[in-house]
Subunit: 254 residues, 4 copies
């Protein structure tokens, strides 16, 4: 049994110069929310599941009573109009549990990207501020200097020495290992309080993805979700104000 | 030295369309209790020991002073009457310690199942409620939708979104990895407070196994054990009521 | 680089039917103390060092300012009189850090034992009682039932269900894995409070080793050390009586 | 993907009898500070990057917005005058996270050293005292006894049984594994309080390196940094005196 099992459904998609967009679980679940939203709204097609010995030994239960081994998933989307970018989309239940597992998983993903003809990688995540934020900016880091200028045009922000701790996990490794293997890559990090899942931050990130891909997908589902979360956040705040001692814990529900 | 050592005693058993029933240590020890009870009451025959570098580096001491390396064990049972199912039974001292070990161990078990002609897998475990339960129900999850309907007939219960955290460990992985390898599978989870070993919950699970296998094994030993545990639980409760401060700890003896 | 590096000094010793005696760090350091005492008092010869990636990444500093990579060590001793047993002696700085490392290390040791013609393995350790003990007994567990009777003759004690948790670490694994590979083996566990290194318990274990090997090595160094430790233990007790709050910590110095 | 990826820029440097000087992150960051200072002040040339699955899955962000996968780095420097030593310099972001990773990484480094013709290894680190120190001494440990005498001439100090816990990490392993592979080696440990990065201790270590290499590099940048840190330490002390409760935490900033 290999470290990573790739379960292909049929053949690999044939796409002209596709880009990879990755969003796995992380701070505010910003990346996962964003990529799942793209998949749903543009109707991307799943073509591969990834299982990995470095994920937890766990199955989830679907609403119909069937089980699903925890995994990462690959989707693709073919452009409908000229100027739009073909996309490979990566999301999933978990990132690798160990450092070595993360490196091996990302290495396997990059090898698959090579086969798919991917040359550019966009990784999405959250940048936890630990405080409320009205209009989340989208921070950015790139594999190559020429991409910095280009991303600014799309609305991304560069702040020197931020994030100070760099980027940890798949979003960072895909660029770091990817650069060594000849990929170009950009990481977008939506500012987020980081306490709850943050569709608002995901929306900010997706605005930039729209600008890059020239695909104008609908945002209303994400806006709906943002309102729900805002209400929950508001309720939690009121509980806290009212002296409810358990509110402190609830703040960190993710 | 391989990750898993299989210590065969003689050849593999030749059985017509056997099912695997797994019960390893877990919540309330429900699965292990249940499978050990089947083995004892039907007189199943051991045919393989599994040793694994991901088990603790430990030997147990038998009552005659000899040692026994910690292991998992395989038994088989040939049906006596028409309509009864042939069984492979799996129990043991431990599950793998690490995530990777769990994946590798389950993969090895599934490969052995292939060789034995197993096509259906039943995994048994407990579903911890954290509170007393008079009549434990048996929750269920399956690899295939058609099995849901079938299992309901045998008395299993499906509750949407339960267990919310899915199924962790061998009981989940055998279905999750098994599904990818073409097995059909069902996990039965007996409701249990989860504080003490729970023969009562194991009994509830075994009622369903009886119905599936058409094997009418004796339950009296399990009922005996259930009464013992009930007495211990009662004593612990009284100690707690009486203000004994150590009762809190005793509650979690497993 | 292999998991275990064997650094041979010259060829393997040629011995007639040697036994392995193992004593690595553990409870009360009983096993390590005992084997180191044998090596010193009979003048055994070192023939191999074992280095292992599962030991800590650490060197110790000798009194002359030179460093020494942490390791396990093999010695041998050729009998001087008829009736005495030839010995392979194993001691060292550490046991493996991880479960997998322990299994691999013991597997490598057993393979070396095969080459050396070893058929019997004696592992030495401590059995922590958590309380003072005047005359430590030596508990015993064996790979084969016939050895139980034999070891009783040498003064070892068998207590049913003790140690309840079995034997953890190299002393257990050498017997457990060894049994699967055709070795006979015995583990001697000297009773010990377990708070401090315990030369007194080591002495009790060595009495039995003397009886088995028919080698009458001197015990005075060990008796000297036992007196020292007894004084330290006495001082610690007085500090505790006197209300010194730090005594609690000192009790666990090992 | 190998455990360690070596990313060569061009060919390996051809040097006559070079020495390796290693300084990776550790207590007071003494080793890393020292080696980075040598690299900067003598203008050493980078020739290799090391990436390792046992480093954290992390990228750092450069001031121009580009990312950098965490790594170790190799530099070389060719002597300008007769009598000076050619140098290979090793520094980096991290040491391996796990024991096994540390062994594998050091093994890979030693193999590269063989190819580079290195026969002597100098590893630099800090020796944490847990208290202020005016004039830090430089403790020393060596692979061979003849080096002890030689190092004393350069100003290094040998204290019997210090450090009591030996040397943990790359600085120790490079000597320990190196000795087995035929290298000569010395570890210099600058005394340091260990609370903050310690340029003062690094300076003490570098004095000895100057004496060994006969290279008279400038120390002013390090002296500048030492003054800065002294001021920070002073401020922290005042905060503590003034009863600021957070000062306790700040003391451990590294």
């Amino acid at each position: 049994m290999d470290f990573v099992i790739q379960h292909k459904k049929g053949k690999l998609p044939q796409l002209d110069n596709p880009i990879l967009i990755e969003g796995l679980p992380g701070i505010g679940n910003v990346g996962k929310l964003a990529v799942e939203h793209i998949i749903d709204s543009i109707g991307a097609t799943k073509f591969a599941d990834f299982y990995c010995k470095d994920f937890p030994p766990q199955v989830f239960i679907n609403s119909d009573g069937t089980i699903e081994l925890v995994k990462n998933e690959f989707y693709y989307w073919k452009s409908k109009k000229e100027g739009q970018r073909n996309m490979i989309l990566l999301t999933g239940d978990y990132q690798g549990l160990s450092s070595q597992g993360q490196y091996e998983l990302v290495d396997t993903i990059l090898n698959l990207c090579k086969k798919l003809g991917v040359k550019e990688i966009y990784t999405l995540g959250g940048y936890g501020l630990g405080q409320d934020i009205k209009k989340p900016k989208v921070l950015c880091a790139t594999t190559h200097k020429m991409l910095v200028k280009e991303m600014k045009k799309h609305g991304a922000v560069f702040k020197q020495n931020e994030p100070g701790g760099g980027i940890v996990g798949a979003s960072g490794l895909l660029l770091g290992l990817g650069k060594l293997k000849g990929f170009k890559g950009v990481c977008f990090m939506g500012e987020t309080p980081g306490y709850l899942v943050d569709p608002n931050s995901a929306k900010a990130v997706l605005k930039i993805i729209k600008s890059i891909t020239k695909v104008d997908f609908d945002m209303s589902a994400l806006e709906e979700k943002a309102k729900e979360i805002e209400q929950i956040a508001q309720q939690l705040k009121e509980m806290e104000m009212g002296g409810n001692e358990k509110a402190e814990d609830l703040k960190y529900i993710g």
